[in-house]
Symmetry: C2
Subunit: 109 residues, 2 copies
């Protein structure tokens, strides 16, 4: 028997949902976040950990993740140039939920 | 200072991650899952709750969610035809994590 739309249950918020999806959808984005996790990694380290991704795509994803406020980028005035990435405070707050998405994937494996 | 890739931390699994993303990415998919939640709703009820989505897109998303094993579809041999949707057992298991994604969106609001 169909239930009437449960009046008590708050309706999901499409704008907030799409805001979360902007951070994680796409072939590499969530993977990069989870790979970085609680660490600070150089661009070169990330690139080595992501052999299947082109330089252009990696640079684009990192740029998007910084723009979304998920990651922080720090460049050092050195030669050769050194650039480091880490999750922002908000990114680290979101990490436990994002980590559980892999378990959701396991459920449907 | 960059940390070395934390050897203890298991590397994220790209295949499992993409499996989870297939269920939730796209403009409407996660919203439909959260809207349905623990309920059983008729196609017509879903359609009324989703004024911004075309019949064709809604039918396509529901078909995909059933194919992915997230939802169950039940058709009744009646006139007019009656079709009901509810989350599968796996879908309901994933619901707590998926509900938290909206809070992740709130973080970045």
């Amino acid at each position: 028997m169909p239930t009437n739309r449960d009046e008590q249950a708050p309706k999901p918020d499409l704008r907030l949902i799409n805001q979360a999806l902007a951070m994680i959808c796409g072939k590499w984005r969530l993977y990069i976040i989870l790979l970085l996790g609680e660490q600070t990694l150089r661009y070169t380290q990330l690139s080595e950990l992501l052999p299947g991704i082109s330089e252009k795509v990696l640079a684009g994803e990192l740029k998007a993740l910084v723009a979304l406020g998920v990651m922080k980028r720090k460049a050092y005035a050195e030669m050769p140039p050194r650039v480091e990435y880490k999750l922002s405070k908000k990114g680290r707050l979101a990490l436990p939920v994002l980590n559980q998405l892999q378990e959701v994937g396991q459920l449907f494996n």
